[in-house]
Amino acid sequence: MLKALIVDDEPNHRFGLAKHVNWNGLGYDSPLLAEDADEALFLTGNNRIDVLIADVCMPGMDGIELVKEMRVRYPDIHVLIISGYEEFEFARAAVEAGAKAYLLKPLKIEEVENWLKKFRNEIKMAEKLAKADLAMKKSLVKT
């Protein structure tokens, strides 16, 4: 099972996502929730996080900086940015920081789930590749 972290200063959005997305059906554990960047970083220290869902606009460290920070720690992390701003500048900054997707509020569950599905497939594929790679290395070592 994959693990997701939702960072949003507004509890409604956190709980909404946690509640209405079919996490288990998509192969995810129940997501971790954080109300700001500091809490998010703290939580990632104790858990392996596969997917980060972050709001751009938050008090303290904003979503873009959090993504940058997370990418430094976990280069393989998949990032989905949610935002009330549709201005292109924000989207570009998010993509440059390493976000795979940029979704506008109000969120549509189907869109979120589509992205989560995509991320899961990518992660599975990467794991498979890594396993195959490892098996190949092992067989090489044996021979």
Binding site: G16, G84, K105
Partner: protein
């Protein structure tokens, strides 16, 4: 009282003048200032010239008559001097008064007379005979110069009668006229007594007979070169010589010229003679003779007529020339004023791209130049104001949109959506989604330009919400040409029209409401048509909308706003039209050019 009258006249003439148009005023002025003076001048000049001519003519005629008088007097005097000189001959008197006793002395006397007077006959022209009569019984007659009175015919009478009459007469000399019945010629005789001293008994008499035709007529014929007649009249009123042969021998009383006899002095008058006007001049000369001249005024009339014709022609020419010039000037002025007026009307109707063509250097030309400049400036200023106003409105819209914090709005919508999901309310979810789309496209990140696809989606979102509001009461028909969806348009040009269909057309409240929205490409244009079967627009209101005379906040305001924005971005290439029938619905048609790139605000055309 007089003051009141003056005021009344001034008021009347003012009213009269004010009621005339400019052309009439100038024409009236022209007639009073130019035409009437020219005509008066012409008439006065004609009169003055006529009088001058007449005076001149009369002076020259008088001079000619005076010349005739002088000649006649001189000629007459010549014969009288001859007669007088004969009778003053002392020797002759002595010879006539002598008593002759013998034939020798008689012979000597006859010889003397022949010697002394024999050449007299040849010395003067027209002389018929020259005789000396006597009653000296001792002296005979010779039948040449020396005669004795007897019963022979002489000067229209007998010699005796003639001699006796002369003797009885008080005057010593007189002229007689007689017509020779044989040859019909007129003769004049000059008779003179022979005395020792005047008053004494008559010793004899001298008679000089001349052919009046030869003596006087040659003086008369050349006097007026055929332009008039001269008459010589003796003391009895008989015309004894004239350039008019048919008058010779007649008494004046028998002729139309008898008027001459009425005056005992010189006269100078005009009268009708032989069916035309004549100038009659008569002079009394010695022996109560008269010299009369009848000059036809025909020549004078002829001259004055040609003069009059010239003056009339010049006057008319002046009047016509000045009239033509005047009319040209008036027409030019009036035409230019009219064109200025029509151009000014254009300006008041809002068309500033008018100029008055081709001006001249006069005051009107300055006015036209000023007008052209003014119209240009007005056009520029109006354009500027319009542009500034629309820009201000665009800015205001942006400012308003900036005040709507999108983050806040979308966050709130997001919360509502979560709640709807919590309640499992799918419809609310869709309303929230429609509102999200509606606001996203309304705000459009602050841009005024979007693709046609988005503008359609915008109406779609708006309609979705309206359908929720009115329980799907309205049937919406779409007719979209997919090929135009990627072109650009300005935002919020369709939605306000659809909104009008709901608010003013009440399309949702009438039942069987229907909205047809079509987007088609027509050559280089994209045409949007929005038709509803709502209540339509009353005619008077439609007129207001079409004439841009609506007050703000009414139906036409949105329409005008769209119209101005289309003009601002597309100029004359874009347009919006509206047609409606009360009770049947409204159709709005928008046309914009095909834009593959986002259109920009048009610059004001300063060149105007």
């Amino acid at each position: 009282m007089a003051f009141n009258l003056k005021n009344a006249i001034a008021g009347f003439s003012n009213r009269l003048l004010n009621s005339m148009n400019l052309r009439t005023k100038i024409l009236v002025l022209y007639i009073f200032v130019v035409v009437i003076p020219i005509i008066i001048l012409g008439v006065v000049a004609e009169k003055i010239m006529f009088n001058f001519l007449k005076t001149d003519y009369s002076i020259s005629i008088n001079e000619a008559v005076d010349q005739v008088v002088k000649n006649v007097e001189f000629r007459k005097l010549t014969y009288e001097i001859l007669a007088t000189r004969t009778t003053m001959d002392g020797e002759l008197a002595a010879q006539l008064s002598r008593v002759y006793t013998d034939f020798i002395t008689q012979w000597e006397t006859i010889c003397y007379i022949d010697r002394a007077f024999g050449t007299v006959r040849e010395s003067l022209p027209g002389m018929e005979y020259f005789r000396i009569y006597h009653r000296n019984n001792t002296l005979a007659e010779d039948g040449g110069i020396l005669w004795k009175p007897s019963n022979r015919e002489l000067s229209g009478t007998t010699e005796h009668d003639w001699y006796n009459n002369l003797k009885a007469s008080d005057s010593s000399m007189h002229w007689d006229l007689y017509k020779n019945p044989v040859n019909g010629l007129l003769y004049m005789t000059l008779s003179r007594k022979i005395t020792w001293v005047p008053g004494d008994d008559m010793l004899g008499a001298v008679i000089i007979c001349v052919r009046s035709a030869e003596v006087f007529e040659n003086l008369l014929d050349t006097s007026f070169r055929g332009q008039g007649d001269v008459f010589l009249i003796n003391e009895k009123g008989v015309i004894f010589s004239s350039s008019r042969k048919d008058f010779v021998g007649k008494n004046l009383v028998e002729t139309p010229l008898q008027i001459i006899l009425r005056s005992n002095s010189n006269m100078n008058t005009e009268m009708d003679f032989e069916e035309s006007k004549y100038l009659i001049i008569s002079r009394i000369i010695s022996s109560d003779w008269r010299v009369a001249a009848a000059i036809p005024l025909k020549n004078l009339e002829h001259q004055t007529r040609s003069l009059s014709i010239w003056i009339i022609a010049i006057t008319l020419g002046l009047v016509i020339l000045s009239a033509v010039l005047m009319l040209m000037v008036i027409n030019n002025i009036v035409y230019r004023l009219k064109s200025l007026e029509s151009k000014m009307t254009s300006v008041t109707e809002g068309r500033f791209n008018v100029t008055v063509p081709k001006s001249y250097g006069d005051e009107l030309g300055d006015l036209e130049k000023c007008f052209n400049f003014m119209a240009g400036r007005l056009g520029v200023l109006t354009n500027e104001i319009a542009l500034v106003r629309t820009r201000e409105r665009e800015e205001a819209l942006k400012a308003l949109q900036a005040q709507i914090n999108p983050h806040f709005l979308y966050n709130t919508l997001g919360i509502i959506r979560w709640r709807a999901l919590d309640l499992n309310d799918e419809e609310l979810c869709r309303i929230v989604d429609a509102m999200t789309v509606f606001y996203r496209l309304s705000l459009n990140k602050g841009n005024t330009i979007l693709r046609i696809r988005d503008e359609i989606e915008h109406i779609n979102a708006y309609l979705e919400i309206q359908q929720y509001r009115y329980m799907n009461n309205v049937k919406v028909k779409w007719d979209i040409d997919e090929s135009v969806l990627d072109y650009y348009t300005i935002k919020l040009i369709l939605q306000p029209i659809v909104e009008n269909s709901y608010i003013h057309g009440m399309v949702a409240k009438r039942g069987h409401g229907e909205l047809c929205i079509s987007v088609v490409r027509n050559n280089d244009s994209v045409v949007f048509t929005i038709h509803d079967n709502g209540v339509g627009i009353p005619d008077d209101k439609l007129q207001h909308i079409l004439c841009d005379t609506t007050k703000s906040n009414s139906q036409g305001y949105g329409f005008r706003n769209i119209k101005e924005r289309i003009k601002l971005y597309y100029g004359d290439e874009g347009s919006i039209s509206i047609s409606s029938r009360w009770g049947e619905g409204t159709t709005v048609r928008l046309k914009i050019p095909v834009c593959t790139e986002p259109p920009a605000l048009r610059e004001v055309n300063y060149s105007a």
